[in-house]
Symmetry: C2
Subunit: 349 residues, 2 copies
DNA sequence: TTAAGAACAGTAAACGTTTACAAATCACGA
DNA sequence: TCGTGATTTGTAAACGTTTACTGTTCTTAA
């Protein structure tokens, strides 16, 4: 009945345990557990005594002990390229909130922009009892894929959606979104469109956008005009890329920037060069971050339903864990937000 | 020696346990534990057998069992107002990275902008074995303070620094930063300065900035001109506030916006009203987010060393847990980044 | 009054790990 | 050859829970 005497590992336990509550209430630990977890199964009087004792010492059942016994941790972990990025943090935020609302908790870890060595980074997450793993972007690490399959650890690729994917994926389709954007420009009359991209190394988003752009150009029998620009996190120097494009392809009437920050820097440089936006050059960004609307002229972008994606990913994982229903893929629609940075091309005007 | 027979809680354990490794290597679980944790204490031949067995089945020691036995989880949790916010996510990111580098792992939870009912939100974090709690902003929940003191849970207030604080605080001083900003404007010759703030309800940052502004005005015997504007996350409508200020206080030559997004929206409205920045009105933001430099004119702001603050907070907490040294407070300097949105006042020019 | 069944409470085992202690083995000098 | 001490390995207990099983008490009907 009493807490088994033992050489304490620590001088004294800092948090009260179920034994402390049991002693205070004068019942067995089993009764405490029952009173707290399935109140109906213990007599009213005892139950109240237990609850009072528990409250008086701020007792919270230790999830570690509970997890060990139940073999459930209720932990779902997320790996994303960078947390300090409005694109990703919006999705991560929705994930964390959804987890919390459903009684789960989540570790968050950054992976950088290279998904080819995820396993080592994910190890600690798995050790700590991660029951499900949500990873942003395409998963390129075969060891991780093998491990998850072998040990039945649910794995979900989120943020980007992939038509062909080895694992379930929930997100938006960068390829389609780019086609959508180009089509809109075509409809307005643009036929000479260039693209400025950040590095596509290990970045499935840029890769898909570039692939879409190349495909479209191939269909039209045009040489794709693509310039790359160095991106240092949220800063980009699109200026140099813009100058190269205007020099080598002065016929360009519309410019797709694969990230909003690239577009911002291009805008500044354009103004310096005396190129007016949108009269002389139409400009688009991508990923509709809030600032896009505040720029002058406001920036046309592709809006990504970050919040929806995050919630869907978290919910899917929770459902998988609770019902055992296999994870499914899901594609979210993007929307081109037409703003003042885009107009009909100058030749047509 | 053999794994004790028992009715399995689950049909089959998905992750291999130390018993599986022991059986495969033909040794006791104690030897496995030693071979993996203190290799020197086991004979080379056995050690190799154990390691081989462990590797072959991708064995990772379960942190849940380990935590229960060791009474250490190596988990440090962070609560911040909003994850999808460049201000906070930069700090949170630095925290997470520092934790990971040091063998820790972190839960992240959002608290909204009200720190008065933190305890209930923190409960699950504590249950799950949080060894230290980092909370952004001033901690207003007495229950949480009491709990942490009573149960010796290290508690750290991060992001904002407070001169007088019940708990250790690591961050920057909004009061001082505001004074710094106003002084800079004074030096340039501005004497009629107004402020636009977001809601200060439960927001210690806005509170400190407003307090500093009021104090300065009081010292000069001026009535402080402060307008509030509604902020919906990253969008703000500073336009209306600007109009009110220009109408009631046309003598204003400089305007401090308590968040960059406010400044952005003010800039757009100013342009519409034909007020030129900085010739007619100097404008500042706060929290130097990357976009501030990209606007036209580029925005003068106060740079906050987010990364440093995050790393310092995480390191302090880790040191507290590992050496027992009490947590100390630490104030980080901010820096006014003078950009094109600020110039000498028109009257002086 | 008593037997039977229902309702409730307690005992003990188990989850996966580490580690004190005991036991076994080994090396080596007397 | 044997004793001693050092080295290595195994046994078992403990960390904080939950829960199957058992035992006790209470209710109620004969």
């Amino acid at each position: 009945m009493a807490k088994p005497k033992s050489q304490a590992i620590q001088a004294r336990r800092i948090r009260p345990t179920i034994h402390d509550v049991a002693k205070a209430a004068g019942v067995s630990i089993a009764t405490v557990s029952r009173a707290l977890n399935s109140p109906d199964s213990v007599r009213k009087e005892l139950r109240e005594r237990v609850v009072a004792a528990a409250d008086s010492m701020d007792y919270m059942a230790d999830s570690v002990g509970k997890a060990l016994r139940r073999q459930r941790t209720q932990i779902i972990s997320t790996m994303l390229p960078r947390l300090a990025d409005p694109l990703f943090s919006a999705v991560a935020s929705a994930i964390q909130e959804t987890l919390e609302e459903n009684g789960y908790l989540g570790f968050v870890q950054t992976s950088g922009f290279d998904n080819s060595n995820l396993f080592d980074r994910a190890k600690r997450l798995i050790e700590h009892g991660t029951e499900g793993l949500i990873i942003f972007g395409r998963i390129d690490d075969q060891r991780l894929l093998d491990y998850c399959r072998a040990h039945q650890l649910p794995l979900l690729s989120a943020y980007s959606y992939f038509e062909k994917s080895e694992v379930p994926t929930i997100g938006f389709d960068n390829y389609l979104a780019t086609r959508q954007l180009v089509e809109m420009l075509h409809t307005l009359g643009h036929s000479r469109i260039a693209m400025i991209s950040g590095s596509d190394k290990g970045n499935d988003r840029q890769q898909s956008r570039i692939r879409a752009f190349r495909d479209i150009n191939a269909e039209l029998g045009q040489e794709p005009v693509i310039e790359f620009t160095h991106m240092d996190f949220d800063m980009a120097d699109g200026g140099a890329a813009l100058r190269r494009i205007m020099e080598n392809h002065p016929e360009t009437t519309a410019l797709i920037c694969n990230r909003c920050v690239i577009a911002f820097s291009v805008m500044v440089e354009a103004r310096r060069l005396g190129i007016t936006v949108p009269e002389h050059l139409s400009l688009t960004g991508f990923d509709d971050i809030d600032y896009a609307a505040l720029f002058d002229p406001s920036l046309t972008t592709v809006a990504v339903p970050s919040e929806k994606i995050g919630r869907a990913a978290a919910k899917a994982m929770i459902a998988r864990l609770e019902t055992g229903a296999p994870l499914g893929s899901r594609r979210f629609e993007t929307e081109v937000i037409l703003r003042r940075s885009v107009a009909r091309p100058r030749t047509t005007a």
